[in-house]
């Protein structure tokens, strides 16, 4: 019934992820997300009854899963290849959007939780980061890296890539991504060959 084929719902989520990655969460209105996905405003509240927070949460998870899929596949060729693909993926997004788009997960992570509760979208962002780190760390361990070193390095890689993507947008240049790519590559090579 509801899940037969609803390309509209997924289009909204994907579009929301794209817009959030460009403008940030609070600068992206539900009306704009609907229009961007060529969906009526009423539909967004039909598919996402909990409103903006739910849509943001799903956008984060959508991006997380999309990147994780690519990561899993490329890591089959080893950590170095996985890292290369991870960096290439973000480089493509940044460059092809003419330095307008970035990572929606980071965009959501950079907004204050109201008072003392943790909004679901922020929790989803934490999960996505952890997921990417887990994938990288596992591959590193499988290729000979010591456990703690693998975990730390995985964290560094994810954080560095996120930070570098944002930096590239500010500088309107892909140079930072190429610089950190080289540094991280050497680091990964050193970590698995010992």
């Amino acid at each position: 019934m509801a899940e037969r084929r609803t390309p509209s719902r997924e289009r909204i989520v994907a579009g929301a992820a794209d817009m959030i990655s460009r403008r940030g969460l609070s600068a992206t209105s539900i009306r704009e997300m609907a229009k961007h996905a060529k969906a009526p405003l009423g539909s967004t509240y039909h598919y996402f009854p909990e409103g903006k927070q739910q849509l943001a949460t799903e956008a984060v998870r959508y991006t997380g899963e999309w990147v994780a899929r690519s990561l899993r596949k490329e890591l089959e060729s080893g950590p170095v290849e996985g890292l290369r693909a991870f960096l290439a993926l973000w480089r493509k997004i940044v460059v092809e959007s003419d330095f307008h788009a970035g990572c929606p997960v980071l965009a959501v992570a950079v907004e204050e939780p109201p008072a003392d509760e943790v909004p679901p979208a922020l929790a989803a962002a934490a999960d996505v980061f952890a997921q990417w780190e887990t994938l990288l760390a596992a591959s590193l361990r499988e290729h000979g890296a010591e456990a703690e070193q693998a975990a730390q390095l995985a964290t560094l890689v994810v954080a560095a890539v996120e930070g570098t993507v944002a930096m590239c947008r500010a500088k309107r240049s892909a140079q930072p991504l190429d610089d950190t790519a080289e540094q991280l590559r050497a680091l990964v090579v050193g970590a698995i060959k010992r």
Copy 2:
């Protein structure tokens, strides 16, 4: 006349930087910034006639200079000590705000420039990143690192710290900062001892 002593103006800028680092630029209203600095709304438009963009730009520059001062001082004891202080500075902000505050420069970098122009606040963010990198790279070179290596490593450090700070907020944990700290430290030590 205007610059004799106007603590009010600086209070507004400092408060704006803090609020932007928590909620992001577009989620922070001028009214709130004024109230947070206990200044009347009219005063913000008196001190910053170009409105929100100008205030954001000054907040970014203010933070940039503040961090650069600390960085310059600590780098006198060498790159390793400078890196340690850099990380400690952000760790303090993140932890003491109970994972609510981050870096206002990153917050500004993560908002889409409208159409094809570059807002001054975004340009300021790029400048601040470059400034921090320059300081680190110079210190690395002075301590024996090769020029290109120094530049790349400096970029990695700044980007990684920015990304890690955001990650800590999402995870509500300082662990990522401690992890990347260790990795970066080893990297810096290796780069200057050769």
